[in-house]
């Protein structure tokens, strides 16, 4: 039995998780504490890196204390430490990586510098058990929108497609601003969309033409189309039907994401789709993914919302997979890599 400490600080959440790896390879979540600086970014309409980094420094040790209190274990019970070393915001990553190195030294335990995106996939194994190989993963959040082929969490993640401009979550934030809804845009747009008509406005589906990259995404054109549509109504002195705009925008996002994911799974002969990342909490995305996966005979796995957004438990889970696979730990001179490629699961 092994206890893994996970540390996450790639964006605006300071996450500390504790996971127990059983002798049968099963994972048990012991603690998942997150301190978020999201409210401090609200008035800027997006994450301010320096504000996030300051918040990480303040929150790191208190969040760590809360996690050990919740788990009811001592620091000395930890057997290994996993920390996000990329991709993410450079200054934010540095706080978590520096802290993780210090804890690894203080406790005399091995340290794994690990990939944030692989962590999002590992989050699902905390809830639904081991992943079949291969699995297709759709990661959608404010920072990333990617389709990944997963042949194993300890090695073997390949990018199938990704956004060529904005992340899906970014498009939500920008459209929310256009509609006068608060930041972050995901929850308020989802709420408004449930009251609106998703077929009211035909917004464009990016990169879905016959010559477009099959598995890449683009949300920039959609965001601009929404803004133009709203501006035209405003110019004509008409009231903007916020609920219908939200529903039609959300439908366009969910349509493209699920259509491409299901097509990729079908073409690659993959029977399982994991959807994770902050946008995976979106009600329409889940609904449409369930519908289309069922029709295509694909098993759909979506972790609960709390595990979809950035947290330390997912990094601990990824660390547990690496420990179980006997992967070599990182060295103490590891550094954060804001552009860490998804194929590099640990450094």
């Amino acid at each position: 039995m092994t206890i893994i400490l996970g540390i996450e600080s790639s964006c605006d959440e300071t996450g500390v998780g504790l996971v127990r790896l059983g002798s049968d390879g099963g994972l048990e979540l012991l603690a998942d504490e997150v301190a978020s600086s999201v409210e401090q970014h609200a008035r800027f309409g997006g994450v301010v890196p320096e504000v996030a980094s300051r918040a990480h420094l303040e929150a790191m040790v208190p969040t760590m204390r809360r996690a050990f209190d919740t788990a009811g274990i001592a620091l000395s019970d930890v057997d290994a430490i996993a920390v996000t070393c990329g991709p993410g915001l450079a200054g934010a990553l540095l706080v978590g990586v520096s802290a993780a190195k210090a804890y690894a030294m203080a406790l005399g335990k091995p340290l794994y510098g690990v990939n944030h995106l692989a962590g999002h996939i590992a989050a699902d194994t905390l809830e639904h058990g081991p992943l079949p190989a291969p699995t297709l993963a759709l990661l959608v959040s404010g920072g990333h929108s990617q389709l990944l082929r997963v042949d194993g969490l300890a090695g073997g993640i390949t990018e199938i497609g990704s956004t060529i401009d904005d992340a899906a979550g970014e498009a939500y934030d920008k459209v929310a601003r256009v509609l006068g809804l608060p930041y972050p845009g995901g929850p308020p747009i989802d709420k408004a969309a449930r009251r609106g008509n998703p077929a009211a406005i035909a917004f464009p589906r990016g990169l879905t033409g016959p010559r477009d990259a099959k598995f890449d995404f683009s949300f920039s054109g959609l965001k601009t189309a929404v803004a133009r549509w709203v501006e035209a109504r405003e110019r004509d002195g008409e009231e903007v039907p916020v609920d219908d705009v939200a529903a039609s925008f959300q439908e366009a996002v969910a349509d493209v994401l699920t259509a491409k994911a299901v097509r990729a799974a079908t073409e690659l002969g993959i029977g399982t789709l994991v959807v994770s990342g902050g946008v995976a909490a979106n009600s329409r995305l889940k609904e449409l993914a369930a519908e289309r996966c069922a029709a295509a005979g694909i098993e759909l796995r979506v972790p609960r919302p709390r595990l979809c957004t950035d947290n330390g438990a997912m990094m601990a889970a990824l660390g547990a997979h690496l420990v179980a696979a006997g992967v070599k730990p990182s060295s103490l001179d590891l550094s954060a890599d804001p552009a860490l490629p998804v194929s590099t699961i640990s450094v």
């Binding site: 300051r54 790191m60 200054g91």
Partner: protein
């Protein structure tokens, strides 16, 4: 008393092991690299290596001393979170020390003459503070254009300068450019409970609230 000293508020990555007996700090080992981009990468290995050279282990450490700036944000945080996490992991107190005070305490000759200490704040500014003949800081740490500090030299009564060699204040240069482990320990107040480990940023984050929404339609 065995003290681990850490500072990342200047371009130097500073780590040292200091023995404190009868109030006199004695350096056992130090590892210092001047590389403003390597704080996150090098600090922990430096601590490990300094301990190895000193022939001590982390479990023997009684307290930590950490420079809290002022300093450029990203580098400064590497040292502060390292010290905070080590303190938590080892269950040992972490004593904050103003980095400028640590440089001042490395200047020989106290009591001596009033001193100005400056470090590089980038963006054509310096962090600075003034010290009296007994080595006591007489101004709050501040961030200012160096020419403005130079204009105040007479009023402050300082007659020598230590720290970063990035501006000619017309004063004799004494003391080190970066804090040393000995200076950090000498400047820290290790009696009683440690004060809060709060960074001296002295600047607000660069962040602009968006103005009215930009139109995307032409005209």
């Amino acid at each position: 008393m065995l003290v681990l000293a850490v500072d990342t508020a200047t371009p130097a990555v500073t780590a040292g092991v200091v023995e404190l007996a009868d109030g006199t700090p004695r350096l056992l080992a130090e590892r210092i690299t001047v590389d403003a981009r390597a704080h996150g990468e090098l600090l922990s290995p430096h601590l490990r290596d300094a301990l190895a050279v000193a022939g001590r282990t982390l479990s023997e450490v009684d307290a930590l001393v950490c420079g809290i700036g002022p300093g450029p944000f990203t580098g400064l945080r590497a040292g502060m979170v390292t010290a905070a996490a080590l303190g938590h992991g080892l269950d040992r107190p972490v004593y904050p020390v103003c980095t400028l005070d640590a440089i001042a305490s490395d200047v020989p000759g106290v009591p001596g003459e009033p001193l100005l200490v400056v470090t590089d704040a980038r963006r054509r500014e310096v962090y600075w503070a003034a010290y009296d003949a007994d080595g006591r800081r007489v101004t709050d740490p501040a961030v200012t254009a160096p020419a403005e500090v130079a204009a105040r030299v007479a009023g402050l009564g300082v007659t020598r300068v230590a720290g970063a060699r990035i501006f000619d204040f017309g004063l004799p240069v004494v003391g080190p450019e970066h804090p040393s482990p000995l200076g950090l320990v000498a400047a820290a107040d290790l009696t009683g409970a440690p004060g809060p480990l709060t960074p001296l940023y002295l600047r607000r984050p660069d962040a602009v609230e968006p103005a009215a929404r930009k139109r995307v339609s032409p005209g």
